[in-house]
Symmetry: C2
Subunit: 249 residues, 2 copies
């Protein structure tokens, strides 16, 4: 068999208007779609599954297995698309695919297509909170110790970065989010503007403008993205939040 092709793609938030043409092309051409079931549903809403094409649905936590399976399918000559929401390179499947490729001898063609990540969608809806230097941090301690997360929050807040927080809270770790907020409050005023984004690009989308002091009482789950302003971030009449391009130092 001649080797196939493996395309790693990001849908963006999930609506067709934010999915790039390159990703649409890959979805259209693929013989096999691999991914977490929820992402395959979003993909089918953008490009319906072609006759004869196959969906391989996996649990969200089995990223290594999913990546290995996708590489194997491509090695068998299939045209495989591995699907993430957002950008596959930001807390998503591209790193898992690379981990599986590392040490594997394969002549499969591999391509990665970027997508618009949740923090960018929340920022656009809210104005321009990421308008200056910012950090992107996952608060999930599934794959790294909590001590590293606290250290990074402390460093980022101490150097006055805007922060984009992914996977802020899950049922398995209900208390950690409050600890993260405590670290931020050591460096930032409780009136610091914060943007919350949920179900972005999908029915029921919510974007809220709150403050750091209100954050522990806000409705936040694993699918919420949280943008915490710097010392310079401002709001306009509760409608827009932005970080100016200049910083006084």
């Amino acid at each position: 068999l001649s080797p196939g092709r493996l395309a790693v793609v990001g849908l963006g938030p999930g609506d067709a208007g934010t999915c790039t043409p390159d990703v649409v092309t890959e979805l259209t051409a693929a013989t096999d779609r691999v991914g977490y079931g929820r992402y395959l549903d979003l993909a089918a809403g953008i490009v319906p599954l072609a006759d004869g094409a196959v969906e391989h649905r996996t649990d969200n936590r089995e990223e290594a297995d999913r990546a290995a399976h996708a590489i194997q399918l491509a090695a068998e000559g299939r045209h495989v698309v591995v699907i993430s929401s957002g950008d596959p390179g930001i807390f998503a499947i591209a790193a898992a695919v690379m981990e599986q490729l590392d040490g594997t001898s394969t002549d499969v063609e591999v391509v990665v297509h970027p997508g618009v990540s949740a923090a960018q969608v929340a920022a656009a809806r809210a104005g321009a909170p990421l308008g200056h230097d910012f950090c992107v941090i996952s608060l999930s301690d599934n794959l790294k110790p909590w001590s590293i997360i606290e250290r990074r929050l402390d460093a980022a807040a101490g150097a006055d970065f805007v922060l984009a927080l992914y996977n802020p809270k899950s049922k398995a770790r209900p208390d950690q989010f409050a600890r993260a907020v405590d670290v931020l409050l050591q460096h930032r005023d409780s009136s610091t503007p914060v943007v919350l984004g949920r179900s972005l690009g999908r029915p029921g989308e919510v974007v809220e403008h709150v403050t750091l002091g209100q954050l522990t009482e806000a409705e936040i789950d694993m699918a919420t993205v949280v943008l915490v302003g710097s010392s310079q971030t401002r709001t306009i009449a509760g409608r827009w939040t932005y970080t100016p391009r200049s910083h006084p130092g």
Copy 2:
């Protein structure tokens, strides 16, 4: 006159395949396109200017004037699109538009559409260097003091973030980039993988896999994006660079 509409859009790197349908829709509907001439050229390559539509070309440094002009045109009833490359919310025009809206009383409808930023394109071409927590920093000191930049580089490198550096070098400040690399070398080994991206999505695109120790000798200009790995970032045969999803702490 009834108020018009102001859409702030990001083209992505500049090729049609990475520009979202929402942005194409705005470009198609606009009566006026406002932006740096180079970005207007990229936009015209994706959606040709409609008959009767007007281009307003400005110098890249006149962001405040450009934003004020766009708001004024929209207030006069025009359908205005303000154009950035990449994501308008990441070191681009959205913050300048918000600064102009702040304190202005207007009933113009304003919408911001995200786009794929240069760091995401470079990361996708290179594999998954942003696969874990990362910071995004502009090295330009036009709008902030150099001391803030050094402090942020030091904090980000010290907490083992991956770094995405925008505007790394200009003719006006040839020595600062070497100082930035020195700060990073205080925390990272000289063998740390680095990805360089230039002319992304355009003819002549270059993506290079180098190391932190090679960075001061590398060909870098204002339009290069530089991705500096964490302690965990690895390369595969000089073809891929990625940061694993897990961190040992």
